[in-house]
Structure formats: C-alpha cells, structure tokens
C-alpha cells in the first residue's frame, strides 16, 4: 500500500439545527485515509458514522474544521463543484441499494457513465465489465424487482464501481443481507480493492463487515475513540 493521503480531516465539527437549538453530531474529528484503504467507521447507532461518511462524500458540509478529499476542500465547494467531485471520483453504496426500479440492471449501472458522457460502445463495455466483477452478467436485462436483495446490492456495487472511482463510500451495505450474501459482496469489494486499488470506507456495526476491514475507526457520540489497524499488507 502506498502512503498517498486522499482524505484529510482536521477538527471536524458537524452541527444540525433542531428546532431553535442545535445538535452536535461530530465533535472534533481528526484523521486521514490513504489510497487503497479498506476501512470502516464503527460505532453504535447515532454515533455519527453516516454523518461523517456524508461529509466525506460531499453530500453534506462541515460546520467547522477542514475536510480535504482528493485535494479539494469539501467545506468550500459549491453545489456544482461537489456534484463534479462525486461524478468523477466517488462511488456510493447504500443500505437500501437505491436502484432505479423502472430501469434494468444494465441501465442502472450505465447511469453514472451517462453523466460522464461516455459513448454507447464504451458504456456497454464498461457496464458488462462491472457486472462481471459482481457476477451478474446474465442479469443485465432484469429489473431490480426480479432480483434478490444480495443481487440488488451487487448491482449497486457495480454501479458504484463502473466508473472506477478513487473512493467508494458504503453505508451499512450488508444491513439488509443474510450472512451468505454479506460475505459474497464483501469478498467482491475486497477483490476490487485489491485489483483496482479503490479505497473503500464503510459505515457499519455489522460484525461480518468488521471482520473484513483492514482498519477500524471507532466512533462514539461524535468522537473517534479508537483507531485500529488490523492487517497491513
């Protein structure tokens, strides 16, 4: 693993307005992630995992502190610049898959490429390659409603990976999956992490996910309470 830092977080505070007051979800986070990491944010419900992941993914803005993702400061991005960052460099995987129900598996995976203006033949090649990574080439023309939960999540992984992003953010990707499916998709992501050097950051409290992580960042009540490297290859 090389030592390029792609995410640098300094004294990050995130507050949400609640009624007249506000709630502090992140209370001073300082850490960094390097290219190729397979890391997880671990902690009890409400500890701030999703909030931190959203800020790294430029879906939300820091209240205080400095967050640099791939050399750009998230806090100073305009909505348009944030969209550009997400479009070109980031992939997202969600707990509830969030596939577009009326579109086929192929079209779902193709969508990020449409935004990047790849031409039809490039798109076809890339989509089929991504479906191959997750073992779903035979389901390209199926609709999400015809797939199992595990297959849906694999489509979501293909969709996140198809443009070969630098960084994939996965929020509770196994929460709706049984053990077998969880291991399948985790092995898939582990493989992609190795082969493509894609950085993965998970938010999870699932033991199965945790067992795959190379680095565990423990959150509690908006603080990092422990940062543990498991494997170092």
């Amino acid at each position: 693993m090389n030592n390029d830092i792609i995410i640098n977080i300094q004294q990050l505070v995130k507050r949400f307005p609640i009624g007249k007051g506000e709630f502090t979800a992140l209370k001073g986070i300082t850490t960094s992630f390097r290219k190729g990491e397979f890391a997880g944010l671990i902690g009890p419900s409400g500890s701030g995992k999703t909030t931190l992941l959203n800020i790294i993914g430029s879906l939300d803005m820091p209240s205080e502190g400095e967050v640099t993702v791939l050399d750009v400061s998230v806090g100073s991005l305009t909505a348009k610049q944030a969209a550009l960052l997400r479009k070109e460099k980031l992939g997202f995987i969600f707990q509830s898959y969030n596939l577009l129900q009326v579109h086929t598996v192929f079209e779902n995976v193709e969508f990020p490429l449409l935004l990047l203006h790849y031409n039809a033949s490039e798109r076809k090649k890339m989509v089929m390659e991504a479906l191959d990574w997750v073992g779903l080439t035979d389901k390209a023309q199926s609709k999400p409603s015809q797939l199992s939960g595990g297959e849906c999540q694999r489509v979501a992984i293909a969709r996140a990976m198809v443009k070969k992003p630098v960084l994939v953010l996965a929020d509770e990707p196994t929460a709706n999956l049984d053990a077998t499916n969880s291991h399948t998709i985790l092995r898939t992501m582990e493989k992609l992490n190795k082969e493509l050097q894609t950085t993965f950051i998970f938010a999870t409290h699932d033991e199965k996910v945790i067992s795959y992580l190379h680095r565990k960042v423990f959150l509690d009540d908006g603080y990092i309470v422990k940062d543990e490297w498991v494997k170092n290859d």
Partner: protein, 426 residues
C-alpha cells in the same frame, strides 16, 4: 440521457400515464368548451344580427336615437336609390330593407266584431322577392309550426303562442292598427296563413312577419324603410369588416353638405344595444377558458407531481449522489413534464376536436330547457371549431404541467442532498 429519462417516464406509469390522462382530459375540456362557447356566442351574435341588428345597419340619425321604439317617422326615404348606392359602394355586403313597427292586432268574428286584441311587434321583410335571402336568414321555414308560407300580398305569419292566445285560426283575417309614417292611424287587413315559433320568448310573445311592401302600403311608407341591414358575405360578424364598411360609407358622405337627423348613418353590430359587450366577451372567452384551465390543471398536476416527486426523492438522492446537479435533476423534471404536456395536449386536442365536431355537426336541441328565456339565444346549441381550437389546448396543457412540475420540484432545492437520502432510507 434523454433516452434514459424517456425510458423512465414511459415505464413508470404513475409518472406518465396519470399526468398524461389528467392533461388530456383538461385539454379536451378546454378545447371542447372553447368551441362550444364560441359556437353559442357566434350563433347568438348571428341570430341577433339576423333578426335585429344586421352586421351593419344603415338608418337615419333620428331613428337611431330611439331605435327600440321603431320611430318610423324618422325612416329612410328614397331607399331604392340608397340601396343601389350601398350596393355599389359596398358590394361585399348584402343589403336588405326592413321595417319594424309596433301595433295592435284585432281579431274580428264573422260579423266584424272584435273577439280578441293584442299588441304585436311587426317585421316587414322581403318575403316574395325571387332572390330573397330573408326567409332563410330568419329560418322561417324551420320555425313554422302551423300553416304555410305566405305566397301573395296581405298574407302574414304570426307567432304561434300569440295565435293560440288570441284564438287565431289559419286563414283568419286580422286587422293591424298602427301609426303611419306621418303620424296618422293605419288600419290594414291581413290573412294569417301560418304560425312560427323561434324558441325565443321575445320573438314568440307577439310577432308578425309580413312582406315589406304590404307594410309600406299599410304605414304609408312608399319607397321608405326604417332600416337597411347589411350582412357580410363571409357569413359572420367581424369588427374588422364592420370598421372597413364604416369608413367606406362615411368617406362618401363627407361630400354631403347638409347633415340633420334624416342623414343616413351606419351603425356596426357592436354599436347597437349591448352587443358591443357581448362581442368583447366572445373574444375574451378563449383567454378566460385558457386561464381557468391553466389554474385548475396546474393545481391537480402540482399535487400529482408532489406525490410523484416525494416518491422519487429516493431516485433524486441517488442521482445527486452520483454527481448530477440539483439544477440538472430539476431541469429533467421539467423536460419530463414538457413531454407529458405535449403528449397529453395532442391526445386531449384530438378528443376535444372530435366532441366539438360532433356538436358542431349535430347540435344539441335545448328548446325545452330554454323555454322562457328572454335573451335572443339559439335553442339548438352548436359548437363552432375555429383555428384557435387547434392550439388553444396546448397552452394550459404545457403550461400547467411545467408549472405543476416546477412547484413539485422545488422540494429538491428545499432539501439538503443528504436529507433526500434520509427520506429514501426511511
């Protein structure tokens, strides 16, 4: 990208079918309503023109001042010359002479004693002229109830209701009492050969229709007419034609030195009675209907869009996460609704035109429902398809879908991107 949006639109029935149906129904109603109201208004205008006002009317200034009382002492003189001039000056207008008058009808028995009497409004028209267009214009054949058309002088038609009230039989001789052009009393016998019912109370209460020459004889109006009505060859009234006629008419009159209350003047349809207001109303009808339907349909589509939009916040969230901008998502919503608006408008216009056409061809007989109406309105409702009906539906159709989608789509901006996920994760 457009293909992607269209695929989504076509496959998601709640996104396309329902809004297209709403738009189609609304557009259909707007087109149909427009043609229908245009039909009623035009028929009403034409009916009033045919019976009373003409598209334009030439009369003396003095007569015009008291037109509703038919002041025949102010009638036009030397009308043969006048009509000949008008025909030369304005050959595109058909000119017909009319005498309207008020009087009393006396129904005598065999011995000449009065059995019944009643007030009447009389219209003297060209009944017997070889090329007369008046019987057709007043739809006399269609309005006959009993008896037959007058075929020789002294034969008249009376309103059916009036004949019933006074017990007049076909073939009865009645006496008209009225005042002559010079203020004397006029008595003239007529033979009632038929009755008519126009389905309009003002006309059916007590009208007699006689040949204009008979009326002239009765009222001492030799070569005189109360009014000369002009009808446009295009078959319907328009302000443009009327103004054109007016300027040509007055251009020649500038040469006439003496101008008094016997000077002929020309009044357009809109300058008589309340007809101006009515013409204006008929013009603004399209705008009024369009406006009403834009508002109504926008509200429906806004709500449909809100429901659809909320359902789609998940989709929007994912698209934003993948790097679409909010503008782009919003614009795509508008594209979608534009597409829906076009398709819905095409379908709606087609159906609207179809129904309007049916009503135009076959009409709807409302004579029973309109009994007792005091306004001169046609009893057979007919739509009239005009050019406007081909495009008028597209205005509310497209505008309301765009407005509805825009209102519903504001939610995208009001919510934080991360918030859109919250709603979708829930």
């Amino acid at each position: 990208m457009i293909k992607f949006l269209l695929q989504g639109l076509l496959r998601d029935k709640s996104r396309s079918h329902l809004p297209i149906m709403v738009v189609a129904v609304g557009v259909m109603l707007s087109v149909f309503m427009h043609a229908y109201i245009t039909g009623i208004m035009n028929d009403t205008i034409e009916m009033n023109a045919a019976f009373s006002y003409g598209h334009v009317k030439v009369l003396t200034k003095g007569y015009a001042d008291n037109m509703s009382q038919f002041p025949n002492d102010m009638a036009l003189d030397n009308t043969d010359v006048l009509v000949a001039n008008l025909k030369k000056q304005l050959p595109n207008i058909e000119w017909v002479e009319r005498i309207q008058f008020g009087g009393l009808i006396d129904v005598p028995n065999d011995k000449g004693e009065t059995v019944a009497q009643g007030p009447v409004i009389g219209i003297g028209i060209d009944l017997f002229g070889k090329e007369t267009t008046e019987t057709k214009r007043l739809r006399i054949h269609e309005s006959m109830v009993e008896g037959r058309m007058p075929s020789k002088p002294s034969e008249i038609l009376v309103s059916n209701d009036f004949a019933k009230k006074l017990g007049i039989q076909m073939g009865n001789t009645v006496t008209l009492m009225a005042s002559t052009m010079y203020g004397g009393m006029a008595y003239q016998n007529f033979v009632v050969v038929g009755t008519v019912s126009f389905g309009v109370q003002v006309l059916d209460r007590g009208t007699i229709i006689a040949d204009i020459q008979d009326v002239r004889d009765a009222l001492d109006m030799d070569n005189a007419s109360g009014e000369i009505l002009g009808f446009f060859s295009q078959g319907y009234y328009s302000d443009k034609e009327a103004d054109k006629a007016k300027s040509i008419f007055y251009a020649q009159q500038d040469n006439v030195s003496i101008q008094d209350e016997f000077t002929p003047i020309l009044l357009t349809f809109r300058e008589q009675g309340d007809m101006g207001t009515f013409v204006d109303l008929s013009h603004s009808m399209g705008a009024i209907i369009t406006f009403v339907f834009i508002i109504a349909m926008s509200i429906v589509l806004w709500n449909a869009g809100l429901l659809g939009g909320i359902r789609r916040y998940g989709e929007f969230g994912v698209r934003l996460a993948m790097g679409e901008t909010k503008h782009h998502v919003f614009a795509s919503l508008l594209y979608e609704s534009f597409f829906v608006g076009i398709i819905g408008s095409i379908i709606g216009t087609a159906f609207g035109l179809l129904f309007a056409w049916l009503l135009q061809e076959y009409g709807l007989d409302m004579s029973d429902e309109m009994k007792g109406s005091s306004m001169m309105m046609p009893t057979v409702l007919k739509a009239r398809i005009t050019m406007a009906d081909y495009y008028i539906g597209f205005i509310p159709g497209i505008f309301s879908t765009l407005l509805g989608a825009a209102l519903a789509g504001i939610g995208i901006y009001k919510r934080k991107t991360s918030q859109l996920f919250k709603e979708l994760e829930a």
